[in-house]
Symmetry: C2
DNA sequence: TTGTAAGCGTTATCAC
DNA sequence: GTGATAACGCTTACAA
């Protein structure tokens, strides 16, 4: 019996029944496992995708990594996890590593990447359109911005504020403010945008807020923040000034971050459909990208969810409904966020 | 000039200066990258470690993955990320995959693993001592339990409660309750333990709480929960009963979860030193395990941090102090949790 | 110091 | 349907 036959058994090719049995029996007995590396070397496919992310400390990135890994696993791909810590050089090193590891593709959520490094390895980026040759997956930031403004207006706000902090590079993410502005203009509602670009500190935000607090009252009655994180910090700040949310000021963030303990949205928010975005990204990287044209941005519809920082009942995330359930071994519907289990 | 020479250049072996230059120049020009797979095949080392975790949705797991990946990267190792979704079969599949990928080691946070699958691949587990042949990294749960009880007592609590939910398997984690009990006994303080094992729902916890609420007062004035997550849910429950925390009841959790937005501890808590634990785990897997005896459990000292659910000023996490700083490209001290940046 | 050649475990292409 | 064999890209004795 030859190696060829063994290989055929493991690859599900046509093999005589007796041969098949003998191979299976022998490999079970010897604890034999196919060697992925030799295989990859031979067929020039690693079945491996690199995830290049800034960090897993932020729930959005962690969620993205979780969903991407799940989607890849469904397609029989492995995830090589690389953390850049928002560091430019680290991004380069990750790309070089990815290349050496002959990954078949890269998911990149990076800030100043040099895609040259990657040679001809396909890339899908999130939230930033780095080049017209690299497809970008994002939520519909413009629609989300509009949605937030419209919601605040519908909830009775008369003077709106948009707050943003982040690096300038964030192509797609910029659109949150544009959408907000456009909806305010359409509705003829007074509004202001305050954006801090690419800076070391959020202090300007707080100085701005300070300037607009007079005798315990805030000049704006509706705020849209470009992330849930910022919304939470603004909320904390206003609380310290004894300004009540949502009674005095209503607040909407962006992302749809869930509280890990309760499964509630941490604030009223524009929810990004992370599972769908991950699935599309995988599809793009594995199937579509190869074939033909797939450049450009894929924008996913967002949803508004009330999370306690607006004057309306909370939207229950599906997770909330299941938060009580606590069975580590229950078969999981991946579309449902997981309850804590430790 | 031969392949051997090229190889030697890339491996930093002694090579004539002119040769080295020529090789470097040519590989830069051609965009050549070493092929990790061929290399791994030849030298029988993949420089790859598998991370088998239940999920990245829980901040503790995400943090662990983040720190492990960072620690591995420092040693020039890659992380293969595998998510089990708390699913038994999935755990098996991950192990089989790990084996095929000839990883040089596995980090396992699993519930009912069959380590046979892994053959002779070294494993380090977290929080559960599965076998005396597999080293286990954990925090000092017993000391943590004691610490929580002692703290509550020092803060004036007269009747203590320990609440726990989780699968029975959690070897090390059980010790939280034991430590709590021992400290209560030492201090002669009345206390009760209520533990829900391996169940589908937290409902018994809430029924227990219900039974002990009388006329808007809770029978216990200090609660230690086996995770921060549970503490937060209990807090929410009590808040709904108009029982105030920390005024009426003081609450301590376990883990040291940080709020992603503000960097504050989400509740008063026993903090696990995740970075140190990750570093040790990597050390164990890569260096020590190979050499000699390393079986048994490695228990890391924990620290108490006040997070607003006890009657005392908050402990500032180092992150809090830096939460205002917002520079994506700043060189990072890995021991400091990261501020949000999106 | 450099070149040569064998071999890592797999798959693919042939003959048989 | 099966067996032999070359080749994938690299490292490493060993020879020069």
């Amino acid at each position: 019996m030859s190696l060829g036959t063994v290989s055929r058994v493991f690859n599900g090719a046509e093999v005589g029944e007796d041969y098949r049995r003998r191979v299976e029996e022998a490999s079970a007995r010897l604890g034999y496992h196919l060697n992925t590396y030799a295989r990859a070397l031979k067929i020039q496919r690693s079945m491996c995708i690199a995830l290049v992310l800034p960090s897993l400390r932020h729930p959005f990135f962690a969620r993205l990594a979780d969903e991407l890994t799940a989607a890849l696993a469904r397609e029989n791909y492995r995830s090589l996890l690389m953390i850049t810590n928002y560091d430019e050089q680290s991004e380069q090193r990750c790309f070089a590593l990815a290349r050496q590891n002959i990954v078949e593709g890269v998911f990149a959520l990076t800030y100043s990447p040099d895609f040259e490094q990657l040679g001809s390895i396909p890339v899908v980026s999130f939230d930033r359109q780095h080049s017209d040759r690299i497809p970008c997956v994002a939520s519909d930031n413009f629609a989300g911005g509009r949605m937030a403004a419209e919601r605040l207006i519908a909830l009775g706000c008369r003077r709106l504020l948009f707050l943003r902090i982040g690096p300038v590079i964030c192509g797609e993410v910029e659109r949150r403010g544009l959408g907000f502005e456009s909806a305010c203009k359409d509705a003829g509602v007074p509004h202001e945008l305050f954006q801090v670009n690419d800076t070391e500190t959020e202090a300007p935000i707080y100085r701005f807020l300070d300037k607009h607090v007079h005798e315990g009252r805030f000049e704006f009655d509706g705020i849209f923040c470009n992330t849930d994180g910022l919304a939470l910090r603004v909320m904390k700040y206003l609380a310290e000034k004894n300004i009540r949310i949502p009674d005095d000021v209503q607040l909407i963030g962006y992302d749809g971050i869930l509280d890990f303990a309760t499964g509630d949205y941490v604030c009223s928010t524009i929810v990004q459909p992370v599972p769908q975005m991950a699935a599309k990204a995988v599809d793009l990287l594995l199937h579509i990208d190869q074939a033909g044209e797939c450049r450009g941005v894929y924008r996913f519809p967002v949803q508004y969810a009330a999370g306690g920082t607006t004057r309306e009942p909370r939207t229950s995330s599906r997770f909330s409904a299941e938060a009580q359930i606590f069975d580590p071994f229950r078969k999981l519907d991946r579309t449902v966020p997981l309850p804590e289990n430790r």
